[in-house]
């Protein structure tokens, strides 16, 4: 049984369809990347998985359970962590409080988890008392990932973690993602940055206008001429 499975998923915003019959699966331990142009429906897919959006039809199965109509706070409790598009740090909470929010549904000692996040992102450790809103973009992204890790997710949804970040920071983020997987968390990664995403991922899906148009092993996709043309910008800029 797949950890996550989307079956004929359709999502609409009002009358406008954003996803039309998406089928996708993620196996335990994988990094799967979801590629696509702007507005293809990548964010919508992640939002539907975590319950922020509800499907018009089709099913979202997490460990075999239908979670399409479950509210976000309950999806989290099932073991799905979501790092939303645009980071969405609580701007007036300190770094530490942001991390504590990540563990909102859990009881008990958080010290260890916090220390673990600080070991992944030493910069955050230095700024544990600083307000989230005053962090730089890169730091906020790290905090967003660390915050999601605090709930011990079995599946981590990452929405464009490299968006708007300086090249140097992007690099660091991707390294961290690899480490998180190596520690046993399954990852569904949405990215614009196709090259790097595919280099990191095991498998990939390509979304276009709300439909999966291509899928396969990451290495295959990386070599596919159509992908290279459309998403890796081979012929793009003159």
């Amino acid at each position: 049984m797949s950890l996550l499975q989307l079956v004929d998923l359709e999502v609409r915003y009002g009358a406008i369809p954003a996803l039309r019959g998406v089928n996708l699966s993620v196996e335990t331990g994988e990094i799967v990347t979801l590629l696509g142009a702007n507005g293809a429906g990548k964010t919508t897919t992640l939002r539907t998985i975590s319950g922020l959006q509800h499907p018009a039809s089709g099913r979202v199965l997490f460990e075999g359970r239908a979670i399409g109509d479950v509210a976000p706070h309950d999806v989290l409790a099932l073991g799905v962590g979501h790092v939303p598009e645009g980071r969405r740090i609580f701007p007036q909470m300190s770094v530490l409080e942001n991390l504590e929010m990540g563990a909102y549904r859990r009881r008990g000692n958080l010290r260890e988890d916090v220390e673990h996040v600080f070991s992944l992102f030493p910069v955050l450790g230095q700024r544990r008392r600083q307000e989230g809103g005053t962090l730089s973009g890169g730091e906020q992204q790290m905090l967003a990932i660390g915050r999601a890790l605090m709930s011990h997710p079995r599946l981590l949804l990452l929405d464009e973690p490299s968006m708007g970040l300086a090249p140097l920071v992007v690099k660091a983020i991707f390294e961290i993602i690899a480490r998180i997987r190596s520690q046993g968390t399954t990852i569904l990664l949405v990215e614009q940055n196709a090259t790097q995403a595919l280099q990191l991922a095991d498998r990939g899906y390509v979304l276009e206008n709300g439909e999966i148009v291509m899928s396969g092993a990451a290495t295959d996709l990386l070599g596919d001429p159509r992908i290279r043309a459309a998403y890796l910008g081979e012929t793009a800029a003159h």
Binding site: Y13, G14, G64, R65, A66, G68, D69, V70, D74
Partner: protein, 468 residues
């Protein structure tokens, strides 16, 4: 597939039974999540509330005697029967009513299909105007008076406030202050205040002066305060309304204080050989009012569709982007504010002139709120909405009160009024006759784009998102 009941370990699950495969039964304690049952629950509670609303007056001596009287059998039974009956209707409609729904949708879409037709619209407008001219002459004195003092004045006030709230998105809770300013201007220039005017004016020329005074007051209040954010503007204007009232009460030597004004002269026209005096009869005032309402409707309609209306729409949606696009946000806000103020001021002048007397107690905050309610009930940003909303909400209570069949207690009016407002916001927030832009904004807001009003405007560009 694993046992779905495992999920119930998670507190406060919002799984609806519809989402589960049909073979999975809902445990009993989750039954309330079933939409039908939840609605029934709401309807039963509604029945109790209705019983209270329509029950006897309590006496404040025996605790809860009113409640006791209301919840007795026949009365409570009727109320419950009504609301449960409503539930049955709703449920039937939901379950089997696809056909009924499409039919009713077709009916409610009819005006929308006819209205864009310019020829039809023109005809309808002419017919309406003819009706507005001819019909009132056949009413008795009471309904004529209602038509002026309740309906007409409030229609004018509502279309004026619509410019402020509906077009520019500014929540003004002190709107009635300008009404007061208009009324006092009239009293001043006709010599009905303790202080006397520098010149004795023909009581008709008071109108432009009062309008200009109210407009000036709008500008003076607007320039400093319109920089404030939506909610703050609301509270500051609310305070302004209170202040005007307090000042009117306290400056006895200027305004006559709590006792009110002296006798104000009726409007009179003495030009070019015309000698006409508006008297006690409401009808001539009605026609004067009608002229102004029609003029205002024409003017505001033109404004809405001009560059000024577009600038307001832009400000309403995103003040920062509007400024970056070269729109002088403050200027346009002040403009809307001043236009609203002058409309309100004129209404005040007219009331003062017809009744010939008023007192500070006539300008309460509740009145400002009432006018806001009229605008929103009718449909914010929509001129027909403001007109119809004001007319219906002002006329209906009078009608229900007078009509032998209903004759409900006037003192219960505001209970019903409150209930209507809540139900309206739940079931039809766009108002009776929504404007096209407003409907779009609401639709967008429902899908999480924008906020459909300018109440957050002015917040910093990095403002984090509010609710989803």
């Amino acid at each position: 597939m694993s046992d779905p009941l495992e999920l119930t370990e998670i507190p406060e699950r919002t799984v609806t039974s519809a989402a589960l495969p049909p073979d999975q039964r809902t445990p009993w304690h989750k039954v309330v999540h079933n939409d039908d049952v939840r609605r029934l629950f709401a309807c039963v509670i509604g029945g109790f509330v209705l019983a209270l609303m329509t029950g006897p007056e309590g006496d404040g001596i025996n605790m809860l005697s009113g409640v006791d009287g209301a919840l007795r059998f026949p009365h409570l039974g009727i109320c419950l029967a009504l609301t449960v009956g409503l539930w049955v209707l709703i449920t039937v409609r939901h379950r089997f009513g696809e056909r009924a729904r499409t039919a009713s949708a077709r009916v409610s879409a009819l005006p929308a299909r006819l209205l864009p037709n310019a020829k039809f619209r023109g005809l309808a407008l002419v017919a309406l105007l003819a009706l507005a001219i001819v019909y009132p002459a056949h009413l008795n004195g009471y309904w004529q008076s209602v038509l002026v003092q309740q309906v007409g004045i409030y229609v004018l006030l509502a279309i004026g406030l619509n410019v402020v709230v509906g077009y520019a998105g500014l929540l003004d809770l002190g709107y009635i202050a300008f009404f007061a300013i208009g009324a006092y201007s009239d009293a001043f220039w006709t010599g009905a205040l303790p202080i006397h005017p520098p010149a004795n004016l023909n009581p008709f020329w008071v109108i432009p002066i009062a309008i200009a005074t109210a407009m000036l007051a709008g500008v003076i209040l607007g320039v400093p305060t319109l920089r404030l954010r939506g909610d703050y503007l609301a509270i500051v204007t609310l305070g302004f309304g209170e202040i005007i009232q307090i000042v009117a009460i306290n400056l006895q030597g200027v305004t006559g204080g709590a006792i009110g004004t002296g006798t104000i002269r009726h409007f009179a026209l003495h030009v070019l050989g015309i000698n006409y005096v508006w008297g006690l009869d409401p009808l001539p005032y009605y026609y004067l009012l009608l002229v102004f309402v029609v003029l205002a409707l024409f003017a505001f309609h033109s404004l809405e569709h001009s560059r000024i209306g577009r600038a307001w729409a832009a400000i309403r949606e995103d003040e920062i982007a509007a400024e970056a696009s070269g729109i002088n946000v403050l200027k346009y806000k002040v403009m809307a504010f001043a236009i609203g103020a002058s409309t309100s001021g004129f209404a005040g002048t007219l009331v003062a002139s017809q009744i010939r007397f008023f007192e500070p107690g006539d300008f309460t905050v509740q009145l400002s709120i009432l006018i806001l309610v009229l605008v929103i009930f009718g449909g914010m940003g929509s001129l027909p909405g403001a007109v119809v909303g004001a007319a219906v909400l002002e006329w209906l209570p009078q009608y229900l009160h007078v009509h032998p069949l209903f004759g409900f207690q006037q003192q219960d009016l505001y209970i019903y009024f409150g209930a209507i407002l809540i139900l309206m916001m739940i079931f039809r927030p766009e108002g009776l006759i929504p404007s096209r832009r407003r409907r779009i904004e609401l639709g967008l807001a429902e899908h999480g784009i924008g906020t459909a009003d300018a109440m957050t405007a002015g917040a910093s560009p990095s403002e984090p998102a509010g609710l989803p």
